[in-house]
Amino acid sequence: MKKLSLNQLLIPLLSIVLGLLVGAVVMLIGGYDPIRGFDSLINGMFGSPYAIGETLRAAAPLIFSGLAVAFAFRTGLFNIGVEGQVLIGWVAAVYVGINFDLPMFIHIPLALLAAMLAAAIWAFVPGFLKAKFYVHEVITSIMMNYIALYTTNAILRNVIGVTNERTESIKDSASLSSPWLQEITTYSRLHWGVLVAVLAAIVYYYILQRTTLGYELRAVGFNKHASQYAGMSVNRNIVLSFVISGMFAGLAGAMEGLGTFNGMTLSASFTGVGFDGIAVALLGANTAVGVILAAILFAGLNIGGLAMQAGADIPSELVKVIIATIVIFVASGYAINYVIEKIKGNRKKGVEKK
């Protein structure tokens, strides 16, 4: 049904190219060889089975956090609290992973469910405050991130009983790790989570495009006045949107807890998965396919950055510059659009003069 216009595709692609160009310029200024740099960067992203495995492994949580941000956005809401919801989901998944002894086909779904529920409750708070008291969701969801960070640390210490830095490992029956996937990617940490993430993207599409709930959520996102006039409950949709967004975020945390790390570590700072989700949703234009592709790109850049440091001696922080630049270019898509129109206009004028 929905056709992507040329510009919708052009802006993200152009932004990526421009972001890489800026990266090359920064490399030159720093006295590095950009060709060698990009060679090792791309090799580190996709150049070997191991690189592909690591890229996909890192993409899984980003797909989830991207979907979380995108889902809220489609309802006209900014869920900046994905980061905190990721942490809450992570700790919930790890708790179930450690403290239950169940067959795998129950244990994994139960741990995932726990992550979804815990994060959904966490996301309910800003949604409810917005619907009931008109408190702006950006403020509350940002603040909830800090509460989440310290709450998870407290839970890790007092409930799960971390004495050192790290929890004990989760039971094998709750782990998404797969020896087979590790083997074919020459022992990367690739796990089944990436498959769950793709399934989630399909669910995301299905909810928004096929259900009456999705019809309502999108209507509220586009025009809440008309939705209210038509008899929809705007407040109910705001809360629901946050809760569902939180579920996606919680699963992002579960990817880390049940897949990559098989546990959780005390942390003084954020994981970044939630914040990167904002960039992923932005670059992916809030579409299911776009989010998957953007998550793979950003994950790959992060992974490839390490290889770039090892292979070309270029600090991996440069990747952060590239990602940030891409985000800035996408966010200023309107300006890019303007430039494109201008160029088109000038061309036309030139033709006329001849």
């Binding site: 049904m1 009456t212 999705g214 008309a226 006039y229 038509a230």
Partner: protein, 508 residues
């Protein structure tokens, strides 16, 4: 003949769309020159070219015989061209004087010389007979007075060519007469005026000549004298004969459908703007509510449609008390609503026409089942509706945003009428639409009435109220102050009631 402005063969394109195609407009010194055209005909584009907001692709502009290149509004100002905007550009919290001098303040060293400013403003206002209170705040004065401030702004800047952009749209009949006097006075003082409008009556009353454009093309310029009448102008504007006095069938009122008793509603600021309103509408009649904007129309509709909870009073629909029910319940109880602001309330502009057609019914079969949408059924419905109501759209998949105002309104009417509501509320249903679309919408309202529905029409256009209604209720300060039979009342009488029964023409 001396021309103060000549716009010759002006061409303005937006991409592939030609908004002005070879349009010529010549303004003589000391005349009121009407620029007539339907919405979207290119009037505003042409004036924006003259005012320096757009650069034309072809043609030339001469001011007082000299070829000029108006690159921005400052140049237009320097050339003595002033624009009285339709939507006032005033600072609400500032006084009249402060607004007039804004940007061109007389200085006393580094401070504003308020005394000199006030004196200058008073001088101009006396010279042109534009009485105002120079120390009143904009937010405290009437719309008519605000418009005077806009006129004074242009005069203060030394304009002697004034462009009036749809100046009567917001005024009461009495205020319109005052404005016409003001315009005549300006001409007597040596100014020249371009009057942008689509109201034929005003052109006949005030204009010396009239230039007509249609769909971006120049149709012609005529002298407004005895040889031309409203029908002739309308034909030039629309391109075909227009029947303004279509006679509709006689109403046959039946049982009471809507009964509003002692309704009190507060606005968003918490002020009571509907103050104990009583109103009855019967099946098979169109009740028109006449009144100046801001007398409680919006809140009355919001209370009847469930968008706002009334403070007190009752809303009875078909004998059942529905006071304070939510919009969905109201819809299901049998209310259809063509909202005043079709972009804000009527449509989800980014949704396709298809999706907009089931905005109130999407949760019902066949459009959905057990929470899953059946978009095929929705598309079929939408296709049937756009065909039946002649909504011009390339397909049902284009976003509502892409349609013209008239077609958007047709789509809303199709959706609302299709539900067969017992009560159809039409708020300003023809605002901003062209003559053809207006005719169509009026016909639809009458059709609904003939089917035995009750129709509540709210409009700020007295012509429309008089033309379509079977009964007219005048709303003033939140109350119905009189009910009249359209055949026995006059615009003057209604205008008198709309202004609270006091002549608002002297000092405000």
């Amino acid at each position: 003949m001396e021309y103060v402005i000549e716009m010759l063969n002006i061409r303005k394109e937006f991409g592939t769309f030609v908004a002005n195609d070879n349009i010529t407009l010549q303004l003589r010194k000391g005349e009121i020159h009407a620029l007539l055209g339907e919405n979207g005909a290119g009037k505003s584009t042409l004036m924006n070219v003259l005012f320096g907001l757009y650069q034309p692709e072809g043609g030339e502009i001469r001011v007082r015989g000299e070829k000029v290149n108006i690159e921005n509004p400052n140049i237009a100002n320097d050339l003595g061209i002033g624009m009285v905007h339709q939507h006032f550009m005033l600072v609400e919290k500032f006084t009249v004087t402060e607004n007039i001098i804004l940007g061109l303040e007389p200085k006393n060293g580094v401070t504003i010389d308020r005394a000199a400013a006030r004196k200058k403003v008073m001088e101009i206002s006396e010279q042109y007979g534009l009485r105002i209170d120079p120390d009143a705040k904009i937010e405290d004065i009437s719309v008519g007075m605000q418009q005077r401030v806009e006129i004074l702004k242009t005069l203060y800047r030394g304009a002697d060519i004034l462009i009036f952009d749809e100046p009567t749209a917001v005024l009461t009949p009495q205020e319109i007469q005052e404005l016409i006097q003001i315009m005549k006075r300006l001409i007597a003082e040596g100014k020249s005026i371009i009057l942008i409008t689509h109201k034929l009556k005003e052109i006949m009353q005030v204009a010396d000549r009239c230039t007509v454009i249609r769909r971006g093309r120049y149709i012609g310029t005529v002298d407004v004298d005895d040889t031309i009448n409203e029908d002739g102008l309308a034909e030039m504007m629309v391109g075909r004969e227009v029947n303004f006095d279509a006679e509709y069938s006689k109403a046959d009122p039946q049982q009471v459908v809507l009964d509003v008793q002692g309704l009190v509603v507060k606005d968003s600021r918490g002020l009571e703007v509907v103050e104990g309103l009583d109103l009855q509408i019967r099946a098979g009649e169109i009740l028109g509510i006449a009144g100046i904007d801001g007398n409680g129309q919006t809140e009355l509709i919001e209370a009847i449609t469930g968008l706002k909870k009334p403070e007190s009073g009752k809303v009875m629909l078909n004998g059942k008390d529905v006071t304070g029910h939510l919009p969905r319940k109201m819809t299901e109880a049998g209310i259809g609503h063509i909202p005043q602001d079709r972009h804000k309330h009527g449509l989800v502009l980014d949704y396709s026409i298809r999706d907009n057609m089931v905005l109130q019914t999407y949760y019902k079969e066949p459009f959905s089942k057990r929470g899953l949408m059946n978009y095929k059924a929705v598309a079929e419905k939408a296709k049937a509706l756009i065909e039946k109501f002649d909504v011009r759209t390339p397909s049902v998949d284009v976003p509502a945003r892409a349609l013209s105002g008239g077609n958007q309104q047709k789509a809303i009417i199709a959706r609302e009428v299709d539900r067969s509501p017992d009560l159809l509320i039409a708020a300003q249903p023809t605002r901003g639409l062209d003559v053809g679309a207006i005719e169509f919408i009026h016909e639809q309202l009458v059709k609904e009435r003939e089917k035995g529905r009750a129709v509540l029409l709210i409009s700020f256009e007295l012509d429309e109220i008089l033309h379509v209604s079977d009964r007219i209720a005048v709303l003033y300060e939140g109350k119905i102050v009189g009910i009249r039979d359209p055949k026995e009342t006059t615009e003057q009488e209604l205008g008198f009631l709309m202004a609270g029964g006091q002549r608002g023409d002297e000092t405000e």
